[in-house]
């Protein structure tokens, strides 16, 4: 068991070290995420209905925390996808580590990447939205770990489902649009209720990205209160996504 854990940690460490090799990619991701706040939100703030969103810049800044975790966690998916295309995966399978250790290591690596990447956006939220207290800070850390692990697992499963570069990019984009458009990252619950049938609007509020965004908005002081079950729901989502994604990744590398 100790050996397995050591192997996983070694694989995660390798992925973390490789993270710094993609400085330009990281810079491009930061540009993309920042563009949502400093371009889209700044301009859109002039045309949003203040009844629903008093300050769209603050609303989006907290939402972008979830988007940033997605983007950085998906960097591991991008690499694992390239390994499939270039057949490096066969080398990884020959390493003296079990497949489960390999899978756990890759997910852990993606989780660490997500957490490190998110730090810049945490700082942005402290500057733009508010400073969390100690309890709120602990909840932010927990939410980020859980969301980052779920997104890394999902990214790995999706990116290894095909060897086609264009299809990998399309799957990634489709996942992004499905996860984020069906969430409250870009629009609040009231707007969702205005446009969509009640059950659908309610369901959207319970997706992992929506739950995490709500937690961030509360923790940074944009919302005064939060559904107390949100962290628990997020944990259940993470468990489900991790199990499903790990099984899919195992199947994809064993084909």
């Amino acid at each position: 068991m100790n050996g397995e854990l050591r192997s996983s940690l070694l694989i995660a460490y390798r992925d973390l070290v490789r993270f710094w090799k993609f400085k330009h990619w990281l810079a491009s991701q930061i540009v993309m995420n920042l563009a949502d706040v400093v371009i889209f939100a700044l301009i859109f703030n002039n045309i949003v209905n203040r009844e629903y969103i008093p300050d769209y810049i603050k609303f989006m800044s907290t939402g972008v925390l979830s988007v940033s975790v997605f983007a950085s966690s998906f960097s591991i998916g991008r690499e694992v996808g390239a390994e499939m295309r270039r057949e490096v995966v066969y080398y990884l399978l020959t390493l003296p580590a079990s497949r489960w250790a390999l899978i756990a290591g890759r997910i852990m690596g993606g989780t660490f990447r997500g957490l490190i990447y998110q730090l810049a956006f945490i700082a942005l939220n402290i500057a733009l939205v508010g400073v969390p207290n100690l309890y709120q800070a602990a909840i932010i850390v927990y939410t980020s770990i859980v969301l980052s692990a779920s997104m890394s697992a999902l990214a790995i499963a999706i990116s290894t489902s095909t060897r086609d570069f264009n299809l990998q990019a399309t799957f990634r984009a489709l996942t992004y649009y499905t996860l984020f458009f069906l969430s409250n990252v870009f629009y609040p619950r009231e707007v969702l209720r205005l446009r969509f049938p009640g059950p659908l609007a309610d369901a959207i509020v319970h997706t992992p990205v929506s739950l995490a965004s709500d937690v961030y908005r509360w923790a940074f002081g944009y919302y005064g209160s939060i559904n107390p079950l949100a962290p628990l729901e997020l944990t259940l989502w993470a468990f489900l996504l991790l199990v499903l994604a790990a099984l899919l990744y195992r199947r994809n590398i064993s084909r």
Binding site: S28, I43, F44, N166, F181
Partner: protein, 268 residues
């Protein structure tokens, strides 16, 4: 251009079109993605928007958004040619093309026109969805917007060929086009009219030279006409001339790079 060159170019165009036909799953996924955008994101944004007197209250944001999202989709699909060219480089297809008895000028022109037309045809089902949601439109608006979209798409594929064949790296391609896609769409009149962008001067000037703004505002001017004319970034003739000039310039750049700079190998 000789008859043999023209035949070679048609072959290349046909090759690009056939390649798109083989990627039916990819097409289907993009259409699904588009349906999510117009049905969920578009409707939610519309519920959130209130123009507050800066724009005519008669302008329906959803209609405004529909033509915008079509333009962004055409741009993304034209840009996605970058991934295909990158894959061709990885598989040695680019080197194979360079050994064919086809002039490089014809090769680059054929790939730009073929890739552009393929992207344009690819988005026609999405255009039909937009038209249906708009409740139809004047025939001249449909003709102008379709012609402008085809020209725009050829120009963007010209840019894609120039960049991918210059950087010669899969990672750099992924990064570069990720940034281009994210920043150019937001710094345009896709989601907001130019008058709203004018509150932040650098963004406004960026939107004025952005080809996406020219395409979408040209289409909006023809579809909404008097309502939109005062909001568009330029007159219809200027916008059409800009798109034509840009497409000619970008395709010329691709021809220059393929003719003078490109060599086989060196892919990273």
């Amino acid at each position: 251009m000789q008859t043999s060159d023209l035949r070679a170019m048609l072959l290349l165009v046909q090759w690009d079109l056939m390649r798109m036909w083989r990627r039916r799953i990819f097409v289907l996924m993009r259409i699904t993605w588009f349906a999510v955008q117009v049905s969920i994101f578009g409707l939610a944004l519309t519920a959130m928007v209130r123009f507050r007197g800066i724009v005519s209250a008669q302008l329906d944001y959803y209609h405004f958004y529909l033509l915008g999202v079509y333009t962004s989709m055409l741009f993304s699909i034209s840009v996605s040619n970058a991934y295909e060219v990158a894959e061709e480089f990885e598989e040695g297809i680019i080197e194979y093309h360079l050994t064919l008895p086809i002039k490089r000028r014809v090769l680059s022109l054929g790939r730009a026109v073929g890739g552009g037309l393929a992207a344009f045809i690819f988005t026609l089902p999405m255009y039909a969805i937009v038209l249906m949601l708009l409740g139809g439109g004047p025939p001249e608006a449909i003709a102008v917007s379709l012609a402008a979209s085809a020209v725009f798409s050829v120009g963007i594929v010209g840019l894609v060929l120039s960049l991918v064949l210059s950087v010669k790296s899969g990672d750099a391609t992924d990064i570069l086009f990720g940034i281009i896609d994210a920043v150019i769409v937001r710094l345009s009149t896709i989601f907001y009219p130019a008058v709203v962008l004018s509150r932040v001067a650098p963004y406004y000037y960026a939107a004025l030279v952005n080809p996406l703004s020219h395409l979408v505002d040209l289409a909006r001017t023809f579809f909404f006409f008097e309502e939109y004319r005062v909001l568009a970034i330029a007159s219809p003739v200027t916008m059409a001339a800009y798109l034509l000039g840009l497409a000619a310039g970008l395709v010329s750049l691709a021809i220059y790079i393929v003719e003078r700079k490109l060599e086989g190998g060196g892919w990273r």
